[in-house]
């Protein structure tokens, strides 16, 4: 009895969630696909016409596309490097016996919980402002010229902000992985007289390799879609527009639904490639 009746009940229980997510996936995607082959502009409604792959052609050959792609990749790569390397170092540090470890953890974790718009504006104004910002003051006090971040190095500035936000995530994940390292392995290698650096490279690193891969893959998914920080600091511009922002600009600022939809599909394809690898990696570890 137990198993027979619960089968139908189980399926009914899962159905609503599946249905709802399925619609959420399919409907917008299908519509975007449809719009992408139309000549559809919100300023000129009612005059849509089928134009095949023309939107894609325009989108992909637009120099703004290549620059946006480059920016996207630079942003993702930059943040990944900072967070993974930084996260590893921080995790190693926090794994040590430290007085008041709890409070240090709190300080390190906090940035992840700050909403992106706040992070971006606080960094841009209070910290990075070339005249009254804190960094400017620091630079001047050691005799250096303050950097005008958003004028000269906008993408770097945004990368720093995003990295600051994601460093806690990487640290937390890597710390968790680190703490699962068998105490006895550490002791065995101490008895063997292993120097610390070798210990790190030959024992610690392989152990947290999986966690690092997870961090990279999950962060990439979110980093490909950085939006708020860009909108709120530079509002676009060549140097800081990434693919999502490009699509957004075309849709809601230029009202070119057709073109932006093509861009949206391109973004989806890019993300799917990443998702493919992520799902494969996690599927192997899923305990279901």
């Amino acid at each position: 009895m137990a198993t027979r009746h619960t089968r139908t009940l189980a399926n009914t229980a899962v159905a609503p969630s599946v249905l709802v997510l399925f619609l959420w996936m399919i409907v917008p995607l299908a519509l975007t696909l449809w719009f992408s082959v139309l000549n559809y502009n919100l300023l000129d409604p009612g005059n849509e016409s089928f134009i095949g792959l023309l939107n894609y052609e325009y989108f992909l050959t637009d120099p703004a596309f290549l620059s946006a792609l480059a920016n996207t990749l630079k942003l993702v790569a930059g943040v990944l490097v900072i967070t993974v390397v930084g996260g590893t170092l921080l995790a190693l540090l926090l794994d040590q016996p430290v007085f008041g470890r709890g409070i240090v953890r709190l300080m390190v974790i906090a940035p992840f919980f700050v909403m992106p718009t706040v992070s971006a504006l606080i960094w841009k104004n209070l910290l990075m402002h070339p005249v009254s910002g804190l960094f400017a003051w620091l630079a001047k006090s050691v005799g250096l010229q303050p950097i005008d971040w958003f004028a000269d190095w906008p993408l770097t500035a945004i990368s720093l902000i995003v990295a600051w936000q994601w460093l806690p995530f990487a640290t937390l994940i890597l710390l968790t992985a680190l703490q699962s390292l068998d105490q006895e392995q550490k002791e065995a290698s101490e008895m063997d007289g292993t120097p610390a650096i070798s210990f790190f490279f030959y024992i610690v690193l392989p152990h947290i390799a999986r966690a690092i891969t997870v961090v990279i893959l999950i962060e990439t998914i979110f980093l490909l879609n950085v939006f708020a920080e860009i909108r709120v600091t530079t509002g676009g511009g060549d140097a800081t527009t990434n693919i999502p922002f490009l699509v957004y600009a075309q849709a809601l600022l230029q009202f070119d639904v057709g073109g932006a939809s093509a861009g949206g599909i391109v973004a989806v394809i890019l993300a799917n490639v990443v998702a493919f690898f992520l799902v494969r990696m996690i599927g192997r570890n899923l305990e279901a």
Binding site: M1, A2, T3, R4
Partner: protein, 371 residues
């Protein structure tokens, strides 16, 4: 009260089982890991569905009846106590589900707690109790519902050795006082031998033999049962059949000596191979003996001594000797065999029936033999 008559086919785990359990019996399912004994218990409980066949309780077919309505109680290996409820609520939960009035519940819970020495723990949570106490709460929860039968799924496996012995006694006493049918699963043959009215030995989903403990001890029907019951294991020696006759079968032991075992020859012919089985406790040390060899390990337990002997040909065998035996490693000794205590198994491992049954094997009511 009831006979449980079931036969089913579950291809992967249990090919087909027919078994009847009488009212008030203490039945133990025993066997190695993976033999299907827990599965059988869960089928009786209703936690799993039968793929084929029927289960009847008191003559009523319960194959489609949910566990709650079968009138059974189960004690789990991991106790499965509700962690967020007090001991009192744990024990009373079944009654609460049955809709009993709270006064009745309180009385019954307190009575069960008194029987099991849990009265002072009634308001604690499971995590505050020791293993043995938790086990008693699990038993209390089962008792209080006054079921038609108790099901025990390896209840003592998670306890340490000393506690296990104590709990075994308590369970035996429980059966004495409640006289309810109990079906008990274990992989420990000592528990089986000490607790059971009837033992069912399972192997890969098949019932090898079902009978009283002494019946299984003295008259195992095949090599598996013979080797499973009794600790240390029965010794098995490969022998050749020299002659068969109305008084028994004569076989040649490794080393050349003869022994005439009082069993019915059946289709066995001279020249065939047969396995001789003899328990360590039935081999006698002394000067004369049909088997000889070098002692390679001596285990002294104080009350008895186990000698592990390697003969010039054939496998290692074990002899149980008196605690005062002074044999040492590397000594060469001979042991004697009493033909009355030997078993003979044919090439397929089946036991040849003995000519005379052991008197104690039949003191209890005869158990039903499997097909």
């Amino acid at each position: 009260m009831k006979g449980v008559n079931k036969s089913f086919g579950d291809v992967t785990i249990i090919p087909s089982v027919d078994l009847e359990i009488d009212d008030g019996e203490f039945v133990v399912f025993v066997g190695p890991s993976g033999c299907g004994k827990s599965t059988l218990l869960r089928l009786i409980a209703g936690l799993e569905d039968v793929t084929g066949g029927r289960i009847e309780i008191d003559g009523v077919d319960v194959s489609d009846v949910p566990p709650a309505k079968r009138g059974l109680s189960m004690v789990f290996q991991s106790y499965a106590l509700y962690p967020h409820m007090s001991v009192r609520s744990n024990i009373g939960f079944g009654l609460k589900m049955a809709g009993a009035p709270s006064e009745v519940i309180r009385q019954k819970v307190e009575k069960a707690a008194a029987t099991l020495n849990l009265t002072s723990y009634l308001d604690r949570k499971p995590r505050q109790l020791s293993g043995g106490q938790r086990q008693r709460v699990a038993i209390g929860r089962a008792i209080v519902r006054e079921p038609k039968a108790f099901l025990f799924d390896e209840p003592l496996s998670n306890l340490d050795a000393a506690l296990r012995v104590q709990m075994r006694l308590e369970i035996a006493q429980l059966h004495e006082s409640l006289t309810t049918t109990m079906i008990y699963v274990t992989h420990d043959q000592v528990e089986a031998m000490t607790l059971a009215d009837k033992i069912v030995v399972l192997n890969a989903g098949n019932i090898e033999q079902a009978g009283s403990p002494l019946e299984l001890y003295h008259h195992p029907v095949n090599l598996f049962v013979a080797g499973f019951i009794g600790s240390p294991k029965m010794n098995f020696l490969t022998t050749d059949v020299r002659a068969t006759g109305p008084d028994g079968v004569t076989v040649v032991l490794p080393g050349g000596r003869d022994v005439r075992v009082p069993v019915a020859a059946g289709t066995l012919q001279p020249g065939a191979k047969a396995t001789l089985g003899v328990r360590p406790e039935h081999l006698k040390t002394g000067q004369q003996g049909e088997l000889a060899g070098d002692v390679i390990v001596v285990e002294r337990l104080g009350g008895e001594t186990y000698l592990y002997i390697r003969p010039p040909e054939g496998a290692l065998f074990v002899v149980q000797a008196d605690g005062n035996n002074s044999t040492r490693v590397h000594d060469r000794i001979a042991v004697g065999i009493d033909p009355e205590t030997c078993h003979l198994f044919d090439a397929e491992g089946k036991a040849l029936p003995r000519l005379r049954r052991h008197p104690l094997a039949d003191t209890l009511e005869p158990a039903q033999r499997p097909n």
